[in-house]
């Protein structure tokens, strides 16, 4: 077999770029997931499905061939019509309502009148420590009294 044909299949000389490789794989995974969902759905044919979502059958055919870089909008439209998830994204887990450390010093100084020199010492420590210490301060008698004064 020729060098070019060998290389095409076995990547002996030219590797397929990783980003291209992953994109094609994902497009084909999504294409198969959509095809499977349509086959399991109430739509009798793929053409029926295309019509139901106002899509040209030729476009659906291109999607199922793994040829389309689908937008999230189109995927969501397909998911809604098929009443199933085509792609699954873990719900983003928000941290408890901790403010960003960058804003904390100004916030606490403004509300609780923490002396700036106290913050200057704290900010040289790592972020976690900074938050913990300020939380500790918030619970301290000194800060509790400031809160009382602030809203009195």
């Amino acid at each position: 077999m020729s060098r070019e044909v060998d290389d095409f299949f076995d990547e002996t000389e030219t590797k397929i770029p990783e980003d291209v490789s992953q994109l094609v794989e994902k497009q084909m995974d999504i294409a198969e997931a959509i095809a499977d969902a349509i086959d399991k759905s109430e739509f009798k044919t793929r053409k029926d499905f295309a019509e139901a979502i106002s899509m040209k059958p030729s476009m659906l055919s291109r999607i199922l061939a793994g040829n389309v870089n689908l937008t999230l909008k189109t995927i969501t439209k397909i998911e809604a019509a098929l009443e199933t998830d085509i792609i699954h994204v873990e719900e983003f887990k928000h941290e408890d309502s901790k403010m960003k450390p960058d804003y904390l010093p100004e916030f606490y100084q403004f509300i609780f009148k923490i002396p700036s020199n106290l913050y200057d010492i704290r900010k040289n420590q790592n972020t976690e420590t900074e938050i913990l210490d300020i939380e500790t301060l918030t619970n301290s008698n000194l800060i509790q009294r400031d809160i009382h004064d602030a809203f009195a």
């Binding site: 077999m1 020729s2 070019e4 044909v5 095409f8 299949f9 397929i16 770029p17 291209v20 490789s21 994109l23 094609v24 794989e25 084909m28 294409a31 198969e32 095809a35 055919s61 291109r62 199922l64 061939a65 793994g66 040829n67 870089n69």
Partner: protein, 153 residues
């Protein structure tokens, strides 16, 4: 009846075997001509098409959905193409079965045309692969053979 070509095995994957057509008197098979065409291998979609074909023979199998039939009534459904993106870069093939694919030649659909029939180069490739398919069918029928009888390593 002389077939006029041989079917040369070019890849054995986990899910399918790939062959190409080598015409009598020619030094190289059709797929070789495709991958050595500078215009083809420098096309922006060439690497993606390569990956797609790899996925077919090694991982997913020759699923029908990945093969696009040409819209012409005289063509059998086995005669189709593999393309990528908007389909400018394409390779014509015979999807003989779920596990056997015969790759022909291909090319690039110019921007200014809508159908392959408008391109002399692409039309020639489609006609060639369609003719090969018809010849194989007839040859097997006349000689009472199955496809495995005429495959070459």
């Amino acid at each position: 009846m002389n077939l006029g070509f041989k079917l040369v095995r070019i890849k054995v994957g986990k899910k399918a075997k790939i062959y190409s057509i080598q015409y009598d008197g020619e030094e190289n098979h059709e797929f070789h001509k495709f991958v050595t065409n500078p215009e083809v291998c420098s096309h922006p979609d060439f690497q993606a098409l390569r990956k797609k074909i790899k996925e077919l023979y090694d991982k997913r199998g020759l699923l029908q959905q990945y093969f696009r039939s040409e819209d012409e009534k005289c063509l059998h459904s086995e005669i189709c193409r593999i393309d990528y993106g908007v389909g400018y870069l394409r390779i014509y093939c015979i999807r003989w079965s779920d596990k056997m694919l015969i790759l022909g030649g291909g090319g690039i659909k110019p921007d200014d045309i809508r159908f392959w029939q408008e391109s002399t180069e692409l039309s020639a490739e489609v006609r060639k692969i369609a003719d090969a398919f018809n010849r194989i069918h007839e040859y097997l029928k006349i000689n009472n053979l199955v496809i495995e009888d005429i495959l070459e390593d």
